[in-house]
Symmetry: C2
């Protein structure tokens, strides 16, 4: 009889279990999770910490009890899967409450072990009050510390860094952010990141330190963090640190079982989320993805992707057809009322991959200039000079950016060229856009370059 075992229960794992049972109620499914909580929005943690809502339970879609009852799935939390025997079809599991170790056999296995924060070894890191944020438990620890400590330094200026900056600032903490690279949000192109930095510093002057990194942490006699010395020699006062230096896929367990790991370090999967072992699947943050613009393997772990992959692999586990083609690297975040969004590839990636591309960066407004709440936005858009195809867009501003970036995402999905994009009939009314939307204006500008040069 079919018995599906799932490792991990935050997003892809629970989604897959729910979908599989819906498609085939006869399936037996057992989930092991080393965490205490399952099926919650990890992406919501910064907003919880920022005080946007009071009860962490709002992040939780299902408790273990609800999930077991509603889905008819067995869930074991605080159970760590130690290893996979991909030939004998069983996993070795440790019950973290009792210490008991046992084997659990499966007919099909889903690895949805997620990702973990990257934490390099830094001198002095035995100091108290150095945090990472990935799980609900991490959030609880940070919130406890925030009651006492008020000077926080965030190491790493990516998505999590930006979102946690807002959260800490909203809670009245004094925040600085240190980024090793020469710009905030290294995923953005330099020009867009420069616009963003300018906007953040309007609100919080001198809060961003770029081209610098931590040399060592300095604690006081009680072992509490007191200062941070940066590589440049600069000293920062800090009684709390958040390390947000990126994440790594939890793919080791797969690697040790002989499952193929992709060039990104995440588990290689096909469009059915199948690994190199036919009855073992992987989905969510531990799995590698294909960038549909470049057709290159990438590892961009996001909640929305995990959810979609969970849905696909759940359908496949139930014996039905489904496929996940890949991603566009679409992403969005915000810092207070500044929105930052992107899809496809930017100039950095385009250069690295050897594209001959045109790029434009348009500064404009989110609505008709005479509307009282008109706000500045800028959008950068790229196209391939040879194929004339759009390659990506990035935007930042106080106005509605995500709307615009999603129009481009849809266009990238359809492999549109610049002239196709110009022809999209985008809605217009003065409270929503200029008569010609900034995205169309950007496409006009790209078209001009492509016409001139081609």
């Amino acid at each position: 009889m079919e018995h599906i075992v799932i490792i991990g229960a935050i997003a892809a794992g629970t989604k897959a279990a729910a979908k599989a049972k819906r498609e085939n109620p006869d399936l037996k499914i057992t989930i092991f999770s080393e965490d205490e909580y399952i099926s919650y929005s990890a992406c919501g943690l910064p907003f919880y910490i920022g005080g946007e809502f009071a009860d962490y339970k709002q992040l939780v879609e299902y408790t273990v009890e609800q999930f077991e009852k509603e889905m008819g799935v067995e869930v074991h939390t605080l159970h760590r899967v130690l290893s996979i025997d991909a030939e004998a079809n069983f996993v070795k599991v440790k019950n973290l409450k009792t210490g008991e170790i046992f084997n659990q056999s499966y007919t099909k296995l889903l690895i949805s072990t997620g990702a973990r924060p990257f934490v390099p070894k830094i001198p002095g890191d035995e100091a108290k009050n150095i945090f990472t944020i990935r799980t609900l438990e991490d959030a609880f620890k940070i919130m406890e510390a925030m009651k006492k400590y008020k000077k926080v330094v965030i190491i790493g200026g990516g998505y999590i860094g930006i979102e946690m900056f807002e959260a800490f600032a909203k809670q009245g903490l004094d925040v600085k952010i240190v980024e090793k690279q020469s710009q905030i949000m290294p995923v953005l192109d330099e020009d867009i990141a420069a616009s963003l930095k300018e906007m953040i510093e309007e609100k919080y002057p001198d809060s961003i330190i770029v081209s610098n990194s931590v040399k060592r942490f300095i604690a006081n006699e009680e072992g509490n963090l007191e200062k941070i010395e940066l590589e440049s020699g600069m000293m920062l006062d800090a009684d709390m640190v958040l390390l947000s230096l990126g994440v790594r896929p939890n793919s080791e367990i797969a690697k040790e079982a002989g499952i193929e790991i992709g060039p990104t370090g995440a588990i290689k999967v096909d469009k059915q989320m199948r690994t190199s072992v036919p009855n073992i699947f992987a989905a969510g943050d531990c799995a590698e993805k294909i960038n549909l613009v470049t057709n290159e393997p990438v590892w961009i772990p996001l909640g929305s992707t995990a959810n979609k992959e969970g849905r696909v692999v759940g359908t496949v586990l139930a014996g039905k057809e489904a496929q996940f083609d890949g991603i566009l690297a679409s992403a969005i975040t915000k810092f207070f009322d500044i929105k930052i969004s992107m899809t496809g590839i930017g100039e950095k990636t385009a250069k690295k991959l050897g594209y001959d591309f045109a790029a434009v960066n348009i500064h404009s407004k989110d609505k008709a200039g005479y509307m009282p709440d008109v706000k500045p936005i800028c959008i950068k858009m790229l196209a391939d000079k040879k194929t004339k195809r759009l390659l990506g867009a990035q935007g930042v501003g106080y106005g509605d950016i995500d709307k615009r970036i999603n129009i481009v995402a849809s266009a990238l999905s359809a492999k549109m060229n610049v002239k196709d994009f110009i022809n999209i009939d985008i809605t217009y009314a003065p409270p929503f856009s200029r008569v010609i939307d900034i995205t169309t204006t950007a496409a006009y500008a790209l078209d001009k370059i492509l016409e001139k040069e081609g």
Copy 2:
């Protein structure tokens, strides 16, 4: 020598002139407009009347002087073109200031005469304070009347009706809206219109009267409007009326010149905006368009389309290549913080055109449920059962609708089917959408129907 004459100077006319001169500075261009103002945002008039901004000049992109100087184009306002001699290549023009009538020859002619409000003959309509809104002059008259009169009835519940409802209400007037059809916003499907009506009436109870129309206007002894009798016998107090019963294309001048008129009553044009007479073009609200979803001729006059058509015909008039393929019937409006948007076709049109379609109507939220400012939205989406292609979407709600509808517009432009749409990598972060956006949820629901039935 090439001499281009343009009739009309609000949107398409001025855009075409500017673009043509930019592409070919040697062109001689003369514009005639019977209005006093040129190159302004007619779509912005309701927001001006509503007091969103104080100076009408903010609506004006160029004054006549600016436009003449910057573009090197001759502009004659308060000049009505009476007729076109399409064989002898001249127009007969009347100077409305002096009464003088003269002929002006051209090598190429652009008709951008726009549209006018539809005003049926209604008993008692000689009463004072019955208005339409189309031009700046109309706005001035309404604003003058608003100083004295406070009870306004809007006849016609389409875009203009809704926008003017907000404008009047913002200015403290007591507003009722009367719509002949059984729903507000007849362009919407019934279910979406019902959601909209409910939302409007939460704010303004009993403000919407449907399935009813004006029988007669009743004036007092001074000739000022006092009451309106509806067909049902209902009497409404009113000292002001706005007729917003739709618009008609100003295509008569073309028809009289022997230029082909399309089935919609607007001027038939090809992709270069050329009419049936090779050296005569038409663009903007007076020109017919092709709906790219149905490939049927339609007449949907919008500022954004006029602008794009102006750009295309300007390029063509300058002897270069450009084309305007058509529209998706994308549109948006708002009523206070309620947004209403659509693209492609709805159930009404799909039925009329004989499509075998699936439709879903999803009620959900605009962002993660735990975000404090989460708002309800609903989106209806249609797909063709045979081709699986998306046909259109309509949405209404307090949350961000236009973002979502534009994703669908982009998809319709690419002729995506439902599975293609599901694969779009839409940006996700809790402040911007649920982990699976409502548009994807709608596509999942459509896919389920299509799978089951096909």
